[in-house]
Symmetry: C2
Subunit: 345 residues, 2 copies
């Protein structure tokens, strides 16, 4: 393997000269396009490998006006939900020749706008982005880019192009219904205080609607800032139960703080689900690790990632179609697990 570092990156021309085959044919071999004789192919591949040639996709992309990149824009990587979505996207894209490029917005609309601008400047084959709430400028950029766009996670609202997600309002409503059906009446909520976490907000809206429909009030709320952790779950549970000791159910905006709440109850001798019931959201793996499995609702994140990627891959196949996707709206149905912390109705 001759790999002395070259002064200048290798080009197709170098491979062409080394193999005695025209640049064009070298290009064909390296992309498996068009008919090339086995002998020529062999010569080219050998030359490319011995030289250590790596194609230049910048040049290729400019010439062909197509780039095998899919922009994925999400709010955060520390919220465990998103790595899972990425897993789904990644798995589905694996055999398509498309590659995800990840941008993180930290739940900031301004950052989202910047990230999108940056990503669009690479002319990706598709854009997958979390949520339906975007700045007017961001929507305009996406619309006028002519690139297929899939908005994921949330179906409560209007989209730019295609939507894949679940209804968080409905999820909240459904959980409220089950809680009331199980006989709980003094209900509290523990959740993040993030105006930009629209999905958490919509779940709470749905939850209150569901309670209201049964004539049950939401008695107390406790909000926290920043990321979710077991520790915060414990602290907030302690706090809300101090303020409102009569609560017989706590609905958490996600499983991580819900699990923290469960820990609080376990270590303070509070009977679950007898004295108090608990439920979270997301269907995260952590739920399975505790002695009592937290009631929760699966957020279908792997499936959402897969579906979004599938749609982009489809459109990339059918390239040449100008403009964006078909404007489909795919609403997945999350399943509710009662676990051990919500007594059977």
């Amino acid at each position: 393997m001759t790999t002395l570092r070259p002064r200048r990156p290798l080009t197709l021309r170098d491979v062409s000269e080394a193999s005695g085959v025209s640049e064009m044919t070298v290009s064909r071999v390296l992309r498996n396009r068009g008919d090339v004789s086995a002998a020529t192919r062999e010569k080219v591949l050998t030359a490319a490998k011995t030289l250590g040639y790596v194609p230049n996709k910048i040049a290729g992309g400019l010439a062909s006006q197509r780039v095998n990149l899919v922009a994925v824009v999400i709010p955060s990587l520390s919220n465990l939900v998103f790595p899972d979505v990425l897993g789904g996207i990644s798995a589905e894209l694996d055999d398509t020749g498309l590659q995800p490029v990840i941008g993180v917005t930290n739940y900031s609309p301004a950052r989202e706008e910047m990230v999108l601008y940056d990503m669009l400047s690479w002319r990706p084959s598709g854009v997958i982005l979390a949520g339906l709430e975007h700045s007017a400028a961001a929507r305009a950029m996406l619309t006028s880019s002519g690139i297929p766009v899939v908005e994921i996670m949330d179906t409560d609202g209007d989209g730019i192009d295609t939507i894949v997600g679940i209804s968080h309002k409905r999820a909240g409503r459904e959980m409220a219904r089950r809680i009331v059906a199980a006989g709980y009446r003094r209900i509290g909520f523990v959740g993040t205080h993030m105006p930009e976490d629209h999905r958490a907000r919509k779940r709470l809206v749905g939850f209150e609607e569901g309670l209201a429909a049964a004539g049950v009030p939401l008695e107390a709320r406790e909000y926290y800032q920043g990321g979710s952790s077991l520790l915060k779950g414990r602290e907030l549970t302690e706090r809300i139960l101090t303020r409102a000791p009569n609560l017989d159910f706590l609905y958490y905006s996600n499983d991580m703080i819900g699990a923290g709440g469960l820990l609080h109850c376990m270590t303070h001798g509070i009977a679950v689900p007898g004295r108090i019931g608990l439920a979270g959201f997301n269907g995260m793996e952590i739920v399975d690790g505790f002695p009592l499995r937290l009631a929760t609702m699966d957020s279908c994140r792997l499936e959402i990632g897969r579906e979004a990627a599938r749609i982009i891959a489809e459109h990339a196949d059918a390239a040449g179609t100008p403009g964006a996707g078909a404007g489909e709206r795919i609403e997945l149905q999350p399943t509710l697990s009662l676990g051990d912390t919500l007594r059977r109705g």
Copy 2:
């Protein structure tokens, strides 16, 4: 905001014509390069905004031979360690105009090679990749690319260019030393069975060295496959304690399964750290959520990300320098927390 979708993506020429300024000057304005009069700048920016122009970085990159991308290649996103490293990279890169592009290898050397090939074909300004173990082909590619490379997480071995990490052998040794100093003598290990997780392997090697130095044997081991979870931690702890009931200490290869072990002990009335001591690795947030804080060792992942990104950013500034970095080796010092599960020596 006029944003009728154009048939053809907008080019600099469109902005040039709309503003009556030469393409070159438009380019200068849009990149903040060179001196442009305020009046001209104004005209250009207005035209660009009303048209909804988004620069084409493919073309720009080809022309300028520089691309503001940093390739980041990691084994997994579901191992919580890596999102944290990414956080550090992201934070440090934020003000440099460089953008991370993430590739995931699933701990497969073959996949790593493919991902690297793909990333190098974009001619990034730098490469950050996890670990020191890579296929010969991968090393050759990186070396001959002339791109600065930073290998992260691990300093036990030889690198391609620059290294930023901690010594996992030393971390294991140090933990062994403290455990023995605290008086524990019948020690077991619970860890992942992943031949490709070299850092976990090195920690165990170091751990055994540390025990051996004190004349203490490692009495039992329990391995698991796949990702780490609380549930696995519980199950494996139960299993190893069934096989070897006399153990008085368990060393876990990470905090997640360590926390699972702690849960097992808590729910089975096994006194910690009196009857048995426990320790994990990584210094993850989850450790703080439990009633007893697991002994652990911080893996400096945020710091590692920051430092790696800083090095790449530095080199990107000093562009023109042919060849790669300075071949530095930066070894960070992890701090050990005794928590509540390792009795004080």
